[in-house]
């Protein structure tokens, strides 16, 4: 595969560009064009009317985490510690416990994510061998008054539903 | 009457500023008190109906020279530890004052022998920009040119002195 090489002409060498004035006025004309257009008709602004209009969230968008479960409601996670090991922010803390339903040997006794530490990098999702942790809840605004409520436990993580159907999620390529 | 009050105020301020200059340990304090002196001197010049000199005093002395000094104090980042000790400066000041007192009284005697004169504001453009400028460029042209050369020499000298030295081997 040969790389396509495009030679760009280097700007700023000619006399009129070196003297700056012409270029300054051209730049100012450009910015004024934008200003004037938006001043006359502000419906052309490239803005999202956020609090009133909810943003559209694509499938691969990384929102708050959740833990997935089997069809019978048991947790998929087997407490393999892959996500905890991979987490660059050290926000995941797992304690493993014995699993009695026969699906695997272990299950998490506690699974906490500190959202104030989390950097939403998505490495935990990448690392998980069983697709047990996902970031597809579509929750982008995480606010509260006290620090304790940002530490999510196993129950909360399991109860949050995903924002997309299974087919959409698979098609999204995550 | 109002001019008298202004004179009293300005002169007290200027003397206080000058005393502050010689007594404060830190040069920043000294410089700020000198600024007070210079500004009140500008006010005195205005009382003596020297309008142009009033403006020039504010621009050159209070504006340029003092801000240069302050700039140097900031540039060298002079903090209290870098200063000379000067524990006995008040002793020196009092001693110097005792020595200088006869000089002061002698000069005062001379000054008081001058004929009394009013200092009301003079009208008809005395001290205005145009009048002083005409005088400067007619009668005082040669000194003016010499001063301009002096300024040029000072400029070059300052650049040579404070500029970067090449390391000679």
């Amino acid at each position: 595969m040969s790389a396509k090489v495009k030679t760009m002409e280097r700007k700023g060498a000619s006399f009129s560009e070196k003297i700056y004035f012409v270029e300054i006025f051209r730049g100012m004309a450009t910015t004024f064009g934008h200003f004037w257009k938006n001043l006359l008709d502000n419906s052309k602004l490239y803005v999202r009317h956020y609090p009133e209009v909810e943003p559209e969230i694509p499938v691969r968008w990384r929102g708050r985490h959740r833990l997935t479960s089997h069809d019978d409601g048991t947790v998929k996670c087997v407490a393999c510690f892959m996500c905890q090991t991979n987490c660059p922010a050290n926000c995941i803390a797992i304690e493993a416990g014995e699993r009695l339903d026969g699906k695997a040997e272990k299950m998490p006794a506690t699974f906490t994510i500190d959202l104030l530490e989390c950097i939403y990098c998505g490495y935990c999702v990448e690392a998980c061998p069983l697709d047990a942790i996902r970031m597809d809840t579509g929750i982008y605004s995480v606010t509260d008054n006290n620090r304790e409520s940002f530490v999510l436990g196993l129950e909360e993580l399991l109860q949050t539903p995903g924002a997309f159907s299974e087919e959409e999620y698979k098609k999204g390529g995550a | 009457m109002f001019a008298d009050w202004l004179f009293t105020g300005f002169s007290i301020l200027s003397v206080l500023g000058a005393i502050g200059l010689v007594t404060f340990r830190h040069p920043m304090n000294g410089a700020m008190s000198l600024v007070i002196t210079l500004i009140s001197l500008a006010g005195l010049y205005a009382l003596l109906s020297a309008k142009l000199i009033f403006a020039i005093q504010l621009i050159v002395y209070a504006g340029a020279i003092m801000s240069l000094i302050l700039f140097i104090i900031m540039f060298l980042n002079v903090q209290t530890d870098d200063l000379p000790e000067e524990k006995d400066r008040f002793l020196y000041l009092i001693g110097g004052g005792v020595v200088l007192a006869p000089v002061f009284f002698f000069l005062k005697k001379i000054v008081q022998s001058l004929p009394a004169s009013e200092t009301t504001i003079v009208g008809n453009g005395f001290g205005g920009v145009k009048e002083v400028g005409l005088l400067l460029f007619k009668d005082w042209l040669l000194p003016f040119e010499i001063v301009s050369i002096l300024l040029l020499v000072a400029l070059i000298g300052a650049v040579v002195l404070a500029g970067k030295r090449r390391v000679s081997k």
Binding site: M28, T31, H34, S43, E52 | L70, V129
Partner: protein
């Protein structure tokens, strides 16, 4: 001193003191909304009082309230607390007082007595401005030095050196202007610019001194520490320059001082190069003798202008997303009603002027008001230029800045003086 004298003194002092303070709000608003529009954003438009957003002006109130109630921190390592507190005040008041010499209308003649329309009636107008511009440096130096912190010190050194070195081209540009006008009095300068060159071009400073204008403009940008010369507060290198250590109201005073300096230097640029309060082709005498026709034309023009303005408000003050019973339409209707009310008041005022029989006083006052509004309009446009440049040009590097000042502007200013002198000598 009659009652009229006292009233006029009060009016002009109030004008010189309060108009810059009022313009802080306008400047901040223009800056933020303007920045938004330049970058295809909307700017702050959510803060409101009972749903009235006043096009974003309410945001200023919110910011002011926030700064006012913030904790005022003076760090423990700051030894010279007096200078630390003094510095923002110096910046603020130097800027405020430097505006006081700018004439905002021609000399008002009432009952045969003339009243000068500037805050401080002083002959040496432009020299006063130079002196006060020099005092602003003290604030920067004291703030940078007393912060006792590397960022503050470096920012202070930078911006003090910048202000000191750009004062020289500024002064030289003014010198060539003085050669042309032959006076240092700002009011006489503005009167000079009311004349016409070759009978049809207004004799503004920018036409007589184009090179001087460019030099003065660049130097004024550098004096006010605005982009492209705002490297005192290069966020990427020295965080906020000399006001790193400042918080709450002390920072707000610095901030307001900067905007007042911007306003004052816009006013000076307008007075020196854009005819000050003069309306082009209409000198004060012409205005006074044709006061009634002009008032009549204004009476016709105001509703027409208001009609388009109302249309603009109605078009733009709506929510650009589906919404039931859009409150912004209601808001826009109220604004439009207020503005129509204002127009009616103005119309009544103009009508009273038309009916007024006494020649002289009424026409004189009308002309003064007209000139004040012209002046403020010009100043606002100049402030817009400041904002426009800020959101167009990138920041200079420090050595480029000093090189521009000393190696380009200084020789150009000297050349400008030389050319001006030669032309003035040749023409006289």
């Amino acid at each position: 001193m009659s009652l009229l004298d006292i009233i006029l003194v009060a009016v002009r002092v109030a004008f010189a003191a309060f108009i810059p303070l009022c313009f802080i709000a306008v400047c901040v608003w223009m800056e933020r909304r303007g920045a938004g529009f330049f970058q295809d954003r909307a700017g702050p438009n959510r803060a409101n009082i009972f749903g009235f957003r006043a096009a974003g002006l309410v945001q200023n109130l919110a910011d002011g309230a926030k700064l006012f109630f913030k904790e005022d921190v003076i760090s423990d390592h700051i030894k010279h607390k007096f200078y630390f507190v003094l510095a923002p005040l110096i910046v603020f008041f130097a800027a405020l007082v430097s505006f006081a010499v700018v004439p905002f209308a021609d000399t008002l003649v009432l009952n045969g007595k003339s009243y000068i329309m500037q805050g401080i009636p002083i002959d040496i107008g432009i020299l006063w401005f130079l002196a006060l511009a020099g005092f602003g440096v003290y604030g920067i130096i004291l703030a940078g030095w007393s912060s006792r912190n590397k960022y503050g010190l470096l920012g202070g050194v930078r911006s003090a050196a910048q202000v000191i070195s750009y004062e020289i081209p500024m002064g030289l540009a003014i010198v060539s202007l003085l050669v042309v006008y032959g006076t240092v009095n700002l009011n006489e300068m503005a009167q000079f610019q009311g004349k016409l060159l070759f009978g049809f071009i207004p004799m503004w400073g920018i036409i007589l001194q184009p090179l001087g204008f460019m030099i003065f403009l660049i130097a004024a940008f550098a004096e006010t520490n605005r982009t492209p010369f705002d490297l005192a507060e290069g966020e990427s290198e020295i965080v906020a320059g000399f006001h790193v250590e400042y918080s709450a109201m002390k920072f707000a005073i610095f901030f307001m001082g900067e905007y007042i300096a911007m306003f004052a230097s816009s006013a000076i640029i307008v007075t020196l190069y854009f005819g000050g309060y003069q309306i082009p082709f209409l000198a004060t005498d012409t205005l006074i003798s044709y006061a009634k026709p002009i008032a009549f034309l204004l009476m016709l023009g105001l509703p027409a202008g208001m009609y388009f303005f109302a249309g603009w408000i109605r078009r733009n003050n709506v929510s650009h997303y589906p919404r039931e019973n859009d409150p912004r339409v209601y808001e826009a209707n109220i604004y439009i009603k207020c503005f129509w009310g204002l127009v009616i008041v103005l119309e009544l005022f103009l009508f009273a002027l038309l009916l007024c029989q006494s020649e002289g006083s009424a026409a004189h006052i009308f002309v003064v008001l007209l000139q004040v509004s012209t002046f403020l309009l010009k100043v606002t446009m100049m402030i817009f230029v400041y904002i426009w440049v800020r959101w167009t040009l990138p920041r200079f590097r420090y050595d480029q800045l000093q090189k521009l000042g000393w190696q380009v502007l200084l020789p150009l200013a000297l050349l400008n003086i030389f050319i001006t002198g030669a032309i003035v000598v040749a023409l006289s």
